[in-house]
Amino acid sequence: MSDHCHGSTDNWPELERGYRAMLPEDVLAFIDASRGREHSESMLIATLHMVQGHFGHLGPGHLEAIAQLMQIPLAKVTGVATFYHYFRLQPRGKYLINVCLGTACYVKGAEKIAQKLRDELGIHFGETSKDGIFSLESTRCVGTCGLAPVVMIGDEVHGPLTPSQIPTLLEGYLARAAEDLAPAAASDSR
């Protein structure tokens, strides 16, 4: 059949170029090495870890490139990526907020703190605010039960907190983020 194949209707070479451009060299080498090996699809999770390690998250484009280059159905790839807690499908914000939902914090009203954070930021757990500043996650005990209920922002622990303190707390980080950006903006305007 190859005698009759018209390259013009085959979109693979062009697609493959595009997909390869989306992934870093070491990941491509890893995928190329696993291709053709028995059960090469079992390298999917390892590949997802590598890609997330590189980009900090797994975007739709990354997942599609992984699926196509490994020849694993995309639905399978997104199924795996959404199943495991560790995989992040959105870029992480500048500050990661971890609400402790461990027993002590929970008893002290962590759910109300979590709800206030969701309302203030307009996002759910696992998501990143539109401005890219905050990501919201939940965690179990962080070992500071005496301060319950606690919230970790970046590597700083805040507690004990009440829902009404949340807006001020977030404003502090927003101001910090703005300061960090200011010199860059100033240099841009020159």
Partner: protein, 587 residues
Amino acid sequence: MSQMINLKIDGESILVPEGTTVMDAAEQIGIHIPRLCYHPDLSLEGNCRVCVVAVEGFDHGLASCATKAWEGMEVQTNSPMIRQARRDIVELLLDNHPKDCQTCDRDGNCELQNLSYRMGVRERLFEGKRKQFPIDDAGASVVRNAEKCILCGRCIRVCGEIQGVFNLSQHGRGFTTVVGPANLTPMDESACIQCGQCVNVCPTAAFLEQDHTERVWKALSHRRKDKHVVVTTAPAIRAALGEAFGLPMGTPVTGKMVTALRRMGFDAIFDVNFSADLTIMEEAHELLKRLAGEGPLPLLTSCSPGWVSFLEKFYPELIPHMSSCKSPMQMQSTLIKTYYAQQKGIDPKDIYVVSVMPCVAKKFEAARPEHVLDGMPTTDAVITTRELAVMIKSYGIDFQRLPDGEFDHPLGTSSGAGDIFGATGGVMEAALRTAAFKLTGQNLGNLDLTMVRSDHGAIREASINLAGQTINVAVADGLQNAKILLEAVKRGEKKYHLIEIMACPGGCICGGGQPYPPIGTYTLNPELAKARAKALYSIDAAKTIRCSHDNPDIQKLYADFLGEPLSAKAHELLHTHYTARTPRGIR
């Protein structure tokens, strides 16, 4: 010979071959263990736990579909503990399911509803949070309603194992687990090829066809009598429609179907089989041209829109091999709005074409931008056999008692070759009958080319000698089989001149839009395909005209309107083109 095993089920001793599941063993002594995610023609999933049984030595139930019998095993299928467990499982499924049976499309034909009745669930004791997901009803063909999904996984299995498309998967985990295409993208933006087999195997209404009945009712209503409403029926409808009215599987109901359509008020009733004959005329000449060296071989048939989408997404490099013939439905609709409109002196804009199809993908095909005539769609509505049955019932027509009616002319006459289009191998058989005549100047002595019919396996090959030339052909039904065939051709292991591919296993007769079989019988059941195919082959055998080129109305169409096969006019009206599409499928 495999070793035999002794076990006891509900106190009764039984001898079964090693490897037999408890569910199958029980079946042998007349015990039907309730089940839900199980499907005999798909791999085992064992996730619904409805089929649990008690086994001596275990303090928990075992899933009988996935547990193989062992020597000395003692099974209770109806102990109080098991009955309670099974009922609780079904109740828990119901608790997380919408309470809208009366208005649901699957009302009366839902496996969950039936099971809950049989388990004696008469009230809902567990009231809790219910999952909520948006409905994806933007697709041209397939509607996905995750709230009705019970996560049995049959759709995932049929899409991958039978169709080789692997478009569906579970996403997320726990309570929010949801089945859908990658990233839960809308069906039409996914790798879906619209075949509708997910609709066929779904035990509930989590997958359905896009409803076109409303637009047909509207066209038929008195307010819209300014429209000339034409209906046209595919070959496979007559082999299955009767099942929706309690007739045995594979009862041919052509005459009753025509009468029902007439009573519903259609202005003209035509038969897509006419255009099946026309497709053969064009496709056979295309084959002759390619045999003469013009264009690539093998030639691939193009009638099945699920297969067309599969080609465009999975094998775009083979597009030059594809026949440029429109499907019979599109040829028929085009002729209704040109040839017939001209004959009747009706402005094509005032004609409304309703196609009755065994197929869900035809809805997508009708919406393709290639299929327009002066800016309007050639086919205005596509209803499945199931939708037609609902319309007939809603009209209060007593189908079983209807007298036989006849199709209208000129687009209602067909040869036996047109009739068999609905079964896998039928297009091939019809094409060979006409190619033989064109190459040798006479019809084959025996028109029954049984070697391409489905009794000979999922992938069939045959060689036929015509005027000193050996024509090698192959047929595949089900796209996983098509993949196997195409890969062999691509590797150069096989050289064929003509390949017929139909997306659905068994062909159109088991298409995604055919009536749901009665509960207990499963779609994909080979007996169902066999019975429906038999109906079509019996219609063919009973006809005096059994070759497309002998159809007098086809001859007249060429003489009066098209000129000859592959003429400029035929090309303009009856042929189409294909494009590589994304997302590209993984093969």
